[in-house]
Amino acid sequence: MKELKISVKNLYLKYGEKTALDDISMDITSKQVTAFIGPSGCGKSTFLRVLNRMNDLIDNCSITGEVLIDGIDIYDKNLDVVNLRKRIGMVFQKSNLFPKTIFENIVFGPRLNGVNDKNTLNEIVEKTCRQAAIWDEVKDRLNEPALSLSGGQQQRLCIARALAVEPDILLMDEPASALDPISTAKIEELIHELKKNYTIVIVTHNMQQAARVSDYTAFFYMGKLIEIDKTTRIFTKPSVKQTEDYITGRFG
């Protein structure tokens, strides 16, 4: 029996009057990869951002329902959002490295936590770069601008940067959608590696990718969660017709 990491109950999200997420309930298992699939605008990215409260930044966004991480309600008024985000790493669709050196990008998070000791920072950089399978490529150029790396390298560096704050959940929003097939393969390999230690939630447009990397798959459509199940099941005999239509390419 796998451990429960995230539990969402009856979540609604509105932008002004427009409902973007409609009564979502799901459980996400610890140290597994859960993929969110669905057509553009179905709410999967919005839902991902609910999990680390990134939607707080949007002015007219209102949320009702319950999101429990390790049993703690993350929308509790007394909860420290900043600490929450430190426990949840996020990787975005496009690499968003800062215009700083490779080293400074990775230590940005630890520095926020007050880590300033040079040796500790060096250790963190090496450890996270190894985890993100980019150490060999950057170890000799840590003081070069991060933006001088290739697209695929930048994205893996983003993963390293996210890991540097020692999260236990990793949220990935279409992390490979802007990458070539080789870089994509590297990221997917990495996800396999990382799930030993992290709970990973990944949004993807690419159904083969969902099938390859995930243990569970959730299908979203028009702001609703249509179905969530083991990936093998979703891709062989989904219980809802809509899911099957989407997966076989009949719409979406």
Binding site: N52, M54, L57, D59, V82, N83, R85, K86, G89, M90, F92, K94, N96, L97, F98, P99, K100, F108, G109, L112, N113, P145, L147, S148, C158, R161, A162, V165
Partner: protein, 315 residues
């Protein structure tokens, strides 16, 4: 149309050459102005001209005090305008929620840029000298120290004048920082303030400096706003006072003194002097110095901006 035959874009040809002509005309005009000033101003140029005071009823001597006054006023102006303008822009862009009030504020800033500069002068006299200065004197029991036209109030008035420039360019600089960088910082657990301090502001610095450069250029060239604010016809002494801590004294700019100002000096040489023809070489010389001073201040700021950009890994 036949393949292989080159199509002639007559309209495009006319347009691009018209644009080239306009451009050449503009550059030519600028070079002409600077050239006339340089040629006529060059003969009076000397170290003595740059440091000595005007003499013999303004028809001889140099412009030292005016240069000093200009730099002093500009210094205080930047000191007041940049922190205020940058804070205002950060508030507007990062903290204030879009509402009718922020719209009014934005419109006001744009309108402020269009107010005639003489109006700023009158405002400065009424607000800074007569209201703030007089009340300061009353509260601090300083007699008549702040409640009179002085360098500080001239700088403050010019600061208000250039405030829109600083705010608008800072706003643009802040807006040009990609949202994805903010998301990244927030996602890593940075607070809003940390995100602004560590990610947004460093990237906006070159743009803020551009605003500062523009502000300096504008401020140095203004005459009207400081007419009533302590800008003197002629002063034998520099607005300097010794600041003493115990027995140890260092000369400092005294912001409560009156001052001479290059732009104003040119104005009086050409209109108020007893013999404008006789002062003509001095006028050209002063103008040349004013232009060179503006260029020098600009270059300083440009060097800073270049360094900041380089630190960001761009060029």
């Amino acid at each position: 149309m036949e393949l292989g035959k080159k199509h002639k874009d007559i309209n495009g040809f006319i347009f691009i050459n018209l644009v080239r002509l306009m451009f050449a005309f503009l550059v030519g005009l600028l070079l002409l102005i600077i050239g006339i000033i340089a040629v006529n101003g060059y003969p009076v140029m000397s170290l003595d001209f740059l440091i000595s005071s005007p003499a013999n009823n303004m028809t001889e001597g140099g412009i030292g005090p005016a240069i000093f006054g200009t730099i002093a006023v500009t210094f205080f102006m930047v000191l007041l305008a940049v922190p205020l303008g940058v804070s205002a822009a950060i508030f507007l862009s990062e903290y204030a929620k879009e509402s009718i009030y922020t719209k009014i504020i934005r419109t006001s800033i744009n309108n402020l840029a269009g107010v005639p500069s003489i109006v700023f002068g009158l405002f400065g006299l009424g607000f800074f000298v007569l209201f703030i200065g007089k009340n300061l004197d009353e509260v601090l029991q300083t007699g008549l120290l702040f409640g009179q036209p002085a360098l500080l109030w001239a700088a403050a008035t010019l600061a208000v004048l250039v405030l829109p420039i600083v705010i608008v360019s800072t706003l643009e600089a802040l807006n040009s920082v990609p949202k994805s960088h903010r998301d990244a910082a927030i996602g890593l657990g940075a607070t809003k303030w940390q995100t602004i301090r560590d990610i947004v502001f460093p990237q906006a610095k070159p743009g803020i400096l551009t605003g500062t450069i523009l502000a300096i250029s504008r401020g140095v060239g203004e005459t009207a706003p400081i007419l009533f604010l302590g800008c003197a016809f002629f002063l034998p002494n520099l607005p300097v006072a010794d600041l003493c801590i115990g027995d140890y004294c260092i000369p400092m700019i005294n912001p409560t003194e009156q001052f001479m100002y290059l732009a104003y000096h040119i104005f009086i040489l050409s209109t108020q002097s007893a013999n404008p023809t006789k002062t003509l070489p001095l006028q050209y010389g002063s103008t040349l110095v004013l232009i060179l001073l503006t260029i020098l201040l600009n270059i300083t700021a440009i060097i800073f901006r270049y360094r900041f950009r380089k630190a960001l890994g761009r060029n």
